[in-house]
């Protein structure tokens, strides 16, 4: 399936969940759809969650999107859980993927600490703010804002192009002072690439918004991090992807504490979701290997 095709299918799934989300929001149903679920045994929901998140993990890898961005709209749209619990779990879902990849990305010299740190400082501070605002606002308002954000993400996924090594004529002052530059070896060609970034102020300002959205909706923020780092700031694609994932482990941790402190992280939802999505992601990568025989995964 082509990239646009994959994105189209994912966007359709997201749009469907947005419709349900809007339905929930307008109906003002906050907690559980008690009538529909009271007769179901308690273990049905964790089990269902495990199965759905497993499929979601596979779909995320095959579709080329983060698990967190699928989790919140789909689970809040189709499951009778309050949005606060889903957002809390969504942050941990995004966090688990980031933490699984983080050490490897650093060891492989792909994630740039110099690029990640100033961005993470801003994004995580505003993720805390976003989480507090998100929990203070009425659920209906957050649901509608989430729906609008997801529509925006769909548009971004469909139209955003990527640039393997963007042209950065000259590093700007702030990135030079912060020494945000580096060298990496393009493994497939052996080419040594010196990279630097520009438009740092604009990028950092956008991370204010990304941080707020990550905290408010629990979506993870890879969908926004990569375009900003790659297209706006001019970091090479691989460095952007790796740094974005590493960044999530910092940004989402800050926001997750707020949700944890407010009692919005409940193991009954989080545990099956994490297991399902991680197992699904690992299976998805293996499936990709079958789909693209040229790939040799370790």
């Amino acid at each position: 399936m082509t990239r646009t095709g994959k994105m189209g299918v994912l966007c359709l799934a997201l749009l469907l969940s947005v419709t349900l989300l809007a339905g929930n929001g307008l109906a003002g149903e906050g907690v559980m759809a008690a009538d529909a679920t009271s007769s179901a045994p308690w273990w049905m929901w964790p089990l269902l969650l495990l199965v759905v998140t497993f499929v979601m993990g596979v779909a995320a890898v095959l579709g080329g999107v983060g698990g967190g961005v699928l989790f919140v709209p789909i689970i809040s749209g189709f499951f009778p859980f309050h949005l606060d619990f889903v957002r809390g779990a969504g942050l941990l879902v995004a966090l688990s993927g980031a933490l699984a990849a983080g050490p490897g990305l650093l060891k492989m010299n792909l994630a740039s600490l110099r690029l990640a740190m100033p961005v993470a400082l801003i994004a995580s501070s505003f993720a805390i703010l976003g989480a507090m605002v998100g929990l203070a606002l009425p659920t209906q308002v957050v649901q509608i804002a989430l729906g609008v954000t997801i529509l925006g993400i769909c548009v971004l996924m469909l139209i955003a192009k990527k640039s393997t090594v963007p042209d950065v004529p000259k590093a700007d002052t702030i990135s030079s002072v912060l020494r945000i530059y580096g060298v990496y070896q393009e493994a497939s060609t052996g080419e040594i690439i010196d990279w630097k970034i520009h438009r740092t102020w604009q990028g950092l300002l956008l991370f204010v918004a990304i941080g707020i959205m990550a905290g408010m909706f629990g979506l993870g923020a890879g969908w926004a991090n990569v375009p900003v780092l790659n297209l706006l700031m001019g970091a090479p694609l691989k460095i952007s992807v790796a740094t974005s994932k590493f960044l999530l482990s910092i940004t989402d941790t800050s926001a997750a504490w707020i949700y944890l402190n407010q009692g919005c992280v409940i193991p009954m939802i989080v545990v099956p979701s994490l297991i399902g999505i991680m197992a699904g992601s690992f299976v998805g990568v293996r499936l990709l290997k079958v789909a693209k025989p040229g790939l040799v995964l370790i």
Binding site: L62, G97, G104, S281, L297
Partner: protein
């Protein structure tokens, strides 16, 4: 009877064995071991080559041993290492897949660069502990028992306090094999 012979009869003298300082990078140990492993028979490497390198501290005391497995595990942790290292590599693949990257096998693509980087690891950080030593005057049966009890393939041999050589499992095997031909 071969097994009544002493350890001293079968040891590889310390001067013929590969030695490295615990502060040296792994790359130095690898090159020293490769040189010795391939010198035993000129032109090709054989089973008779030394498969371990002794690690000494700054005062020349034996503090550890490096073998092929330890070296490979350090150089290529995601393949030869434990579950954590393999999960890390898989996590990286997932990260790239979720970003819709065509190059998922980054961990394999950057193989050479990482081997070179990991070869900078200090020997002292990855060496194996010495699990057993033996005196030159002890008999070979005792050495064999010690090796199997501790699941090791080489025994450092001491003459009282002084390290004088190494007894290898492969030499013990050859000696036992001689029984059949005698």
């Amino acid at each position: 009877m071969p097994l009544t012979r002493k350890v001293a009869d079968l040891i590889v003298p310390i001067n013929d064995y590969a030695l490295v300082s615990e502060d040296s990078p792994l790359s130095e140990a690898i090159l020293a071991l490769r040189k010795l492993y391939c010198q035993v028979e000129i032109g090709k490497c054989t089973e008779a080559g030394h498969r371990n390198i002794l690690v000494l501290d700054s005062k020349g005391r034996l503090v550890g041993i490096l073998d092929f497995r330890t070296i490979l595990r350090t150089l290529i942790p995601e393949i030869a290492g434990g579950l954590t290292a393999r999960l890390e590599a898989l996590g990286v693949s997932v990260a790239f897949a979720q970003a819709d990257s065509a190059e998922l096998d980054e961990s394999r693509l950057s193989f050479r660069a990482r081997v070179i980087k990991n070869a900078d690891t200090k020997v002292g950080h990855v060496m194996l502990q010495v699990k057993g030593v033996i005196q030159a005057e002890d008999d070979l049966l005792k050495a064999l028992k010690l090796m199997y009890a501790n699941k090791i393939t080489v025994l450092p041999v001491y003459d009282k306090e002084e390290l004088i050589g190494v007894l290898r499992e492969s030499d013990l095997f050859l000696m036992v094999a001689d029984i059949i031909t005698e």
